[in-house]
Symmetry: C2
Subunit: 198 residues, 2 copies
């Protein structure tokens, strides 16, 4: 009943995150209604993602033919401060803020059970080796994981692992979001904000 091309699109695209069969179906019909040029632009945009690779230092994406990603190869950034983030999009959010001029380690999406995957442990191990090869410890290691139970659990683990490799290990401040209202803060947020008053 459903045309084969549509069916094929749905089964391929509904495996993507935050895309169920319903959304994939709607998308398929929308795409058939587009003109050829627009659809080909989407095809090409999808295709060129294949030219991306992973940076061997920070594990952010990089161009396949580049030695390292644009951040790791930026000499104006300091190696002495490093932020561990979960996702590439977290890194981009940091970059948009603009105040951070150190390096990163992208850890990769944390599993819901809070146990690091072998690939994630390897990334941390790689960072340890890199620091050990230098003459100096990190001035500061910022563990910038989400402030929830899995993020906290993982941050505790990382802090223990790196305690001899950084002079200072910090986490992001917690409290009431700027522009937020005390009245609407949940208990945990308010308790953190109260504790960290200054």
């Amino acid at each position: 009943m459903i045309p084969e091309a549509i069916q094929r699109f749905i089964s391929a695209f509904s495996r993507l995150p935050s895309m169920g069969p319903r959304q994939a179906g709607r998308l398929a019909f929308f795409l058939t209604s587009l003109d050829k040029a627009t659809r080909e632009e989407l095809e090409r945009a999808l295709h060129v993602l294949g030219t991306m690779d992973r940076c061997g230092e920070c594990f952010f994406v990089k161009q396949q033919d580049a030695a390292a990603c644009s951040i790791c190869s930026d000499r104006t950034r300091t190696e002495a401060v490093l932020a561990i983030v979960e996702k590439e999009t977290d890194l981009l959010t940091f970059e948009k803020m603009g105040a951070f001029r150190g390096k990163y380690l992208v850890l990769g999406k944390l599993a819901e059970r809070g146990i690091l995957e072998p690939a994630q442990k390897l990334r941390l191990e790689h960072l340890k080796q890199t620091i050990r090869k230098r003459d100096a410890l990190l001035e500061e290691l910022i563990i910038a994981l989400n402030p929830n139970s899995i993020g906290d659990f993982t941050a505790d683990f990382i802090a223990r692992e790196f305690k001899d490799l950084a002079k200072k290990i910090t986490r992001l401040g917690r409290g009431i979001p700027t522009g937020g209202e005390i009245e609407f803060a949940d208990d945990a947020t308010l308790a953190h904000a109260f504790e960290r008053r200054s």
Copy 2:
């Protein structure tokens, strides 16, 4: 800062329905983490959508090389009953139900202002011509639009336009959804259910 291939993907895909720049960004990074074979499968699935065309009778999608869509070319379906639906996905939902063995007209997404676009008027006009060319009126025209103000407004308009072309013009029943609870029905739904009690 954002690699060009990622940026290009975001700007192309964030124009799709229910896909903002944030979701497109997350999708882009997810796609770079896929193996080549999976990514190529997605590329091909997107590409073959280009082989789809629109059926000249009901305006559902059809294979480019087919004369009509699989429904219009199905001789076991009756021409005497026709359902007007808004979207292709509405048609598929009807087909999944299985009880309907007539034909369709896909009208296309209704504008929020409730005014039919020229292309939609042409589709209705095409259907009128098709019925006029036959010896007989439609036995039944089912106007299967969503039960909201724009759907109702459009259904009223269509009912007037087709009043001389169908023996019976019907709309979908309204009431409390099967499995739903009276307590949670909103006023309009309960009023409809009460009015249409039987």
